[in-house]
């Protein structure tokens, strides 16, 4: 028996080896690079201690990217969950074709975030943009939507919400469908209305689903990258960057690999802390119930 247990441990080897070589080692290397001044390709790597991290505190563009990251994370998560839950309730309400709605709402998740960003660009251009065409019908003048940073942030958040709301829908739909029918029936007998049934039966029983939906989408929003590259490339004037896309611009445009690594490590810490806090918050809630 003992021998079997030892033997079975060999099964770990391929996976653990790959993770150590291509996740853990690069992680340590990123920490090391974040303590150096390096342009990303030369052999000239100078150790400068925590200077990159100190510089981050003085970098206004990074502060903007930090705030944007929180907006992309929390605002998208909030909207994705509300929209996803509403569509899930709607799809669950059984009408002919409800499966088509489910399939179509989940579809954008299949498409690369980068390509989706480019597709949305067709909606937002000044000349001939679909959105300008639409508001033109009502007599409004065309707008250069992406020329303004705040509007850029709004559109990136909306597109991210739209593209990934299907994920929440699926999670909530499977949650709703796993609630035993008898609870609803008992509530109907007790005279509970539709809203009351939703508020006092469906919603509390969905809490595990809420936890999953919130945390996965939050992580997704906080590390948003390719959609931004496609739509605004962080512009105008660094106004719409997330931490991840800012990292990318520091690496490629500014050739500051050391600084980019420091931004990366900080983003890593930020995402870890936020997701752990969230997990704890929801765990506390589920004990209360």
């Amino acid at each position: 028996m003992k021998k079997k247990e030892v033997k079975i441990n060999f099964f770990y080897i391929p996976a653990i080896l790959l993770i150590l070589l291509f996740v853990v080692r690069p992680f340590c290397e990123t920490i090391f690079i974040s303590l150096t001044k390096w342009n990303g390709y030369s052999s000239d790597k100078v150790f400068i201690g925590i200077k990159n991290y100190v510089d981050m505190l003085k970098d206004d563009r990074l502060k903007r990217a930090f705030v944007n990251t929180l907006i992309y994370g929390f605002a998208s998560t909030f909207m994705q969950n509300v929209i996803g839950l509403l569509i899930a309730v709607f799809v669950d309400s059984r009408f002919r074709g409800n499966n088509i709605i489910r399939a179509v709402v989940y579809m954008p998740i299949m498409i690369s975030g980068l390509i989706m960003g480019y597709i949305m660009y067709f909606f937002l251009t000044y000349d001939n943009g679909v959105l300008n065409d639409m508001i033109g019908i009502f007599g409004y003048e065309p707008v250069d939507w992406l020329a303004d940073g705040r509007r850029g942030i709004l559109f990136i958040t909306l597109i991210n919400t739209w593209q990934y709301a299907g994920n929440c829908m699926i999670i909530y739909l499977s949650g709703i469908q796993s609630i035993p029918q008898m609870y609803e029936e008992a509530a109907v007998i007790d005279g509970a209305g539709t809203f009351q049934r939703f508020r006092f039966i469906t919603l509390p029983l969905l809490l595990p689903a809420v936890t999953t939906a919130v945390i996965t989408n939050l992580i997704g929003g906080l590390k948003l990258f390719d959609g931004i590259i496609a739509l605004t490339n962080g512009g105008p004037n660094y106004a719409t960057h997330s931490m991840m896309s800012y990292l990318n611009s520091q690496y490629f445009l500014a050739e500051k690999a050391g600084y980019a690594s420091a931004v990366g490590i900080s983003t890593f810490v930020l995402i870890m802390v936020i997701s752990l806090l969230c997990n704890q918050y929801f765990e506390g809630k589920s004990i209360e119930e």
Binding site: E5, A15, F22, G97, Y106, F268
Partner: protein, 279 residues
């Protein structure tokens, strides 16, 4: 009688069909706009909402002739198949002892895997890049395959170990008493039962590798190694004036994915549910 009942049901539900139509339009409009644009010449300045007066296929000819889109599809396919194969095989192998060994090592590996699963890949892209430079893996298939597999593995181990834990171990034990080897037990008894979860892992990992952009940007530097996303990016980046040509490249990239999704929709949805259920 029945018909009257049905009719009144549809009438009562009219708002549902209205809402369904609104959702459909919101979700299908972008795909519609891309297809419409790809079928119009650059000189056509009619609204992107209007269908083309006549179908103009030049954009597609340009995409297939003047770009490496077919080569890029081949690259994406090789990278995706390689990654998925490793993620499936190494994933279910590692998941088996996690699910069966309740000892300290099993628990430690599980915690390690869950921790790695939370790591946002792009945050350490510089370290990944410099690791790959040191082993001469930039612009190689094996370089990007091993990196994608390493980042995909935690998720697959997590899915497989939840699934295996639900398979009663009486069968393994009976086989062990009969003198079967651990490898035999795994491949003869456990592996055949993993089909449903393997389909989920395969589809989830397949889509994410196919659509990958961040790492590819750093690792696939030679143009003849570009994958589909990098090739579409070229269209939008360098030829921004030719938005119709770019639309055709985007359409070529997304339509195969959408078709596969429509056929395998049921499995994708199941995969999404499996991956979301907390273990």
């Amino acid at each position: 009688m029945n018909r009257i009942k049905q009719k009144s049901g549809t009438e009562r539900n009219w708002w549902k069909y209205l809402l369904a139509a609104v959702i459909l339009i919101i979700y299908l409009l972008p795909v519609y706009v891309v297809v419409v644009m790809s079928l119009k010449p650059m000189t056509d300045h009619t609204s992107r909402l209007l269908p083309p007066v006549e179908i103009y296929l030049e954009n597609y000819l340009k995409v297939f002739k003047n770009s490496n889109i077919l080569n890029a599809m081949k690259n994406s396919l090789i990278i995706t198949v390689g990654t998925v194969a490793i993620v499936v095989i190494a994933g279910c192998l590692a998941a088996y002892p996690i699910a069966r060994n309740k000892g300290r090592l099993g628990r430690a590996v599980k915690i390690f895997v869950l921790g790695v699963m939370m790591v946002p890949g792009m945050s350490m892209v510089v370290g990944v890049y410099s690791t790959l430079v040191s082993i001469h893996a930039i612009s190689t298939y094996w370089g990007i395959i091993l990196v994608s597999a390493a980042f995909g593995l935690p998720f697959s181990i997590y899915m497989y170990s939840n699934f295996i834990a639900a398979i009663p171990d009486t069968l393994d034990e009976a086989a062990a008493i009969d003198g079967a080897d651990v490898l035999t037990i795994f491949f003869k008894i456990i592996f055949p039962q993993l089909k449903p979860v393997t389909v989920s892992v395969l589809l989830m990992q397949g889509v994410s590798t196919w659509n990958e952009y961040g790492y590819s940007l750093y690792i696939l530097q030679k143009p003849d190694m570009y994958n589909v996303t990098l090739t579409v990016k070229q269209f939008f980046g360098e030829q921004l004036k030719d938005l119709n040509g770019a639309a055709a490249s985007a359409a070529v990239a997304i339509i195969p994915v959408i078709i596969i999704y429509l056929f395998l929709q049921k499995y994708f949805v199941k995969g999404a549910i499996d991956s979301a259920v907390k273990g």
